[in-house]
């Protein structure tokens, strides 16, 4: 029994060693990042701390920012959620209650963000997340002062806007490459929370652009053999197969689709032309790609090159979804501008400032939040011709959601 007691006491002491009091310096403002730096979502996850970290460096290198007559610098405190909800929640608890951050960025996973918001919102922590699926909870009631999501902001356009902008870009770029106006589209979509949500909007966007969409084919998220889904798609004789939404899965599916000759052209959501070039991919049919929100391999956005040069110079890897970093980078600058405008770190005053600002970011010269805390901007689409030439365009999103 003595041994058991000793072991148990040692265990309790070891567990107690996890305790570490919150530490704050007078002129340092801590902002937290919760992202999947390991696990199945690492591809998008590593872009969050990279984007936020770059913004923090830019702000600090410029001498910091002034609030209440005092100059502050930022400190990023990042936590890896390991693509595990329990770890994401623990990390959020730690950042909110122990580290006492002023704001949180992340996560890129919708379910995790919803659970995280249950912690950040009662604690009045400004929370930015690049999940368009947040539209499910962001409504006039939930974001009003005292509402349960008053401090939550969606740093990605509403999905009808992103889908609309993307659909317009894909069709406008593929039409000249195909030599005819594409009329029939089939969607192949990963069957998870994000896939179900995104595809429901993109389907409507395609229909709004006059496309005949006979089928949405869902595949299990961990699929590697796409032949059953591609065979089904091919039987519908589509002009375009649209792959949504995981760039890694899409890059697995495309060679199989090309070999099968499943369609006359393809669209790959979330695949950067930079990856297309680096992997020396080619196709005998036109292939469109979209970036969330601006591409790094090729871009029509004049600010993109400078941003991505700095982003990669800071050590971030070239990834399928490196551009996702822009859903966070711009909002660190935006938040600092809001603090300066409010001349306070008070969360309510910060929310008010965020809703009244027009911020010049990389993604857009006029980033604003609407009354339900969501931004509006275009999404870039690029297309690789069979010869290899890549052209890009940013089509403005529709003002209103399609009716059907």
């Amino acid at each position: 029994m003595k041994t058991v007691l000793k072991l148990a006491a040692s265990a309790a002491l070891c567990l107690g060693a996890f305790a570490h009091p919150a530490f704050a310096e007078d002129n340092i403002v801590k902002i937290g990042v919760v992202a999947a730096e390991s696990g199945s979502f690492v591809s998008a996850g590593h872009t969050l701390p990279a984007g936020v970290g770059l913004a923090v460096k830019q702000i600090n290198d410029a001498g910091g920012f002034k609030v209440g007559g005092k100059t502050y610098k930022l400190e990023m405190v990042k936590r890896d959620d390991r693509t595990d909800i329990a770890t994401a929640i623990a990390a959020t608890q730690e950042l909110v209650r122990d580290v006492k951050v002023q704001a949180i960025f992340g996560s890129e996973t919708h379910d995790f963000t919803l659970a995280m918001a249950k912690i950040t919102q009662p604690a009045k922590i400004i929370h930015f997340a690049g999940n368009s699926t947040l539209a499910k909870i962001l409504n006039p009631d939930s974001v009003k002062p005292g509402g349960e999501d008053h401090y939550l902001f969606q740093s990605e356009p509403q999905e009808f806007q992103r889908s609309g902008s993307t659909a317009r870009g894909v069709l406008s770029l593929l039409e000249p490459l195909l030599g005819f106006k594409p009329k029939k589209s089939v969607m192949i979509v990963g069957n998870d929370a994000t896939g179900q949500f995104l595809s429901s909007y993109y389907y409507k966007a395609l229909k709004a652009e006059g496309q005949d969409v006979p089928d949405i084919i869902f595949y299990p998220p961990d699929t590697t053999d796409f032949s059953p889904f591609l065979t089904r798609a091919k039987s519908l004789n589509p002009d375009i197969i649209h792959f949504w939404y995981n760039g890694d899965s899409t890059l697995t599916a495309l060679p199989q689709a090309l070999e099968l000759g499943a369609a006359k052209s393809y669209f790959l959501f979330g695949v950067d032309p930079g990856i297309w070039k680096e992997k020396q991919l080619s196709a005998d049919v036109p292939v469109a790609m979209s970036c969330v929100p601006v591409c790094w391999g090729e871009s029509s956005n004049p600010k993109a090159k400078a941003y991505f040069d700095a982003y990669f110079a800071a050590g971030a890897p070239h990834g399928v979804t490196s551009s996702v970093s822009l859903l966070y980078h711009d909002y660190v600058h935006f938040l600092v501008e809001a603090w300066q405008k409010a001349d306070s770190f008070d969360p309510d005053k910060t929310v008010e400032a965020l809703l009244n600002l027009h911020h010049q970011g990389v993604v857009s010269d006029d980033l604003t939040f609407n009354p339900t805390h969501q931004v509006t901007h275009a999404t870039e689409v690029c297309a690789a011709a069979p010869g290899g030439a890549i052209s890009c365009a940013m089509q403005q999103p529709p003002a209103e959601a399609p009716k059907s």
Binding site: A9, A11, G16, D84, Q93, V96, D98, D111, N191
Partner: protein, 334 residues
């Protein structure tokens, strides 16, 4: 086993749980408390799994689905009927038990590896149903669960209070598991585990008892699900699919399914090992895989069984066979 000996086997767990309950006195970080709560909810499900696997010899690879039934039952009850935490607990436990029975009746007609595959398939099936359940199940996005957890007027949403509540539930689960192990029902289950044909020849209704054990493990899983749902505030199908089920089976095998300390050790080890050693998910899976192989080959009673055996040999000098007999409840000594 005499009552005194039986109680003595429970005492170390109670002492460990008392020390675990005292952890908030050391002002642990909220990260630790949060991870500990998640681990605690797993441990409750593991105590159910230990009744099934450790006592009856049936391994379920779809146990997270039973946890999911409890969690979704609590979320749907709260959303559609305004039912709170404490009422949801027995209802969700019952729902998981009924689901276990529905799964168990066809599955337990087959034995061994086939049963493992059947439970795995049912787990996957539930995840598919939840993912495609539309607004009722929240589809792949899942469901929010709102409403505070109160106890005698005190708001239990505070992390420390929720931690203590989970520790209390773990204690109750451990005691319930211990009571089952040391009851005539537990002896019946172990008789089935050791030799099904012999048990049947003695008049034991093997099929009914196996389904019964599965139902009992469902009750534990349902309670675990309710605690998890109210802690996270949001649940989705991916939390209850095949991987979490494999992890639960892994935890109970590593900790040791036959001893009362096993589920506690397995749950804590798997929850905190990546944290302590700073392992990413890939490294964690490698470590768990190696641990599992080592446990199966070297420590058939799990980590705790191995430690107990080693301690007995080291301190009392008892020979290996005797130490083994002491380490686990034996039918010869009942």
């Amino acid at each position: 086993m005499k009552t005194g000996n039986a109680l003595r086997s429970l005492l170390p767990v109670l002492v460990i749980l008392a020390l675990i309950a005292a952890v908030p006195l050391f002002s642990p970080s909220n990260r630790f408390l949060s991870l500990a709560i998640s681990a605690g909810t797993n441990v409750i499900a593991l105590y159910g799994l230990s009744v099934l696997f450790g006592q009856t010899g049936i391994l379920s690879m779809g146990h997270a689905a039973l946890v999911g039934v409890g969690a979704y039952a609590a979320a749907i009850l709260a959303r559609d009927f305004g039912v709170g935490f404490w009422t949801a607990l027995p209802v969700a436990a019952l729902a998981s038990a009924v689901f276990a029975m529905i799964v168990g009746i066809p599955s337990l007609r087959v034995g061994g590896h086939h049963f493992v595959i059947m439970t795995f398939a049912f787990g996957q099936l539930l995840a598919i149903v939840l993912t495609n359940g539309g607004d009722y199940t929240g589809a792949a996005t899942g469901l929010d669960i709102a409403g505070p957890v109160t106890l005698f007027g005190a708001d239990m949403s505070d992390l420390t209070r929720y931690y203590l509540m989970v520790v209390a539930f773990v204690t109750a689960a451990a005691v319930a598991s211990w009571a089952i192990i040391h009851s005539s029902y537990g002896r019946t289950l172990r008789a089935i585990r050791e030799n099904e044909k012999l048990a049947a020849s003695l008049g034991i209704n093997v099929g009914r008892h196996k389904i019964g054990a599965f139902v009992v493990s469902g009750v534990f899983a349902g309670i675990s699900g309710v605690l998890l749902a109210y802690f996270l505030g949001h649940i989705s199908p991916s939390q209850f699919s095949s991987f979490p089920s494999i992890y639960l089976a892994l935890m109970v095998m590593i900790g040791g399914a036959r001893l009362i300390e096993g589920p506690l050790a397995g749950g804590i080890l798997v929850a905190f090992l990546p944290e302590v050693l700073n392992l990413d998910p890939v490294q964690s899976r490698i470590v768990y895989g190696v641990c599992l192989i080592a446990v199966i080959m070297l420590l058939p009673d799990g980590l705790i069984g191995g430690i107990v055996r080693a301690l007995r040999v080291a301190f009392s000098g008892k020979p290996k066979q005797e130490a083994e007999r002491d380490a686990a409840p034996s039918e010869a000594r009942q």
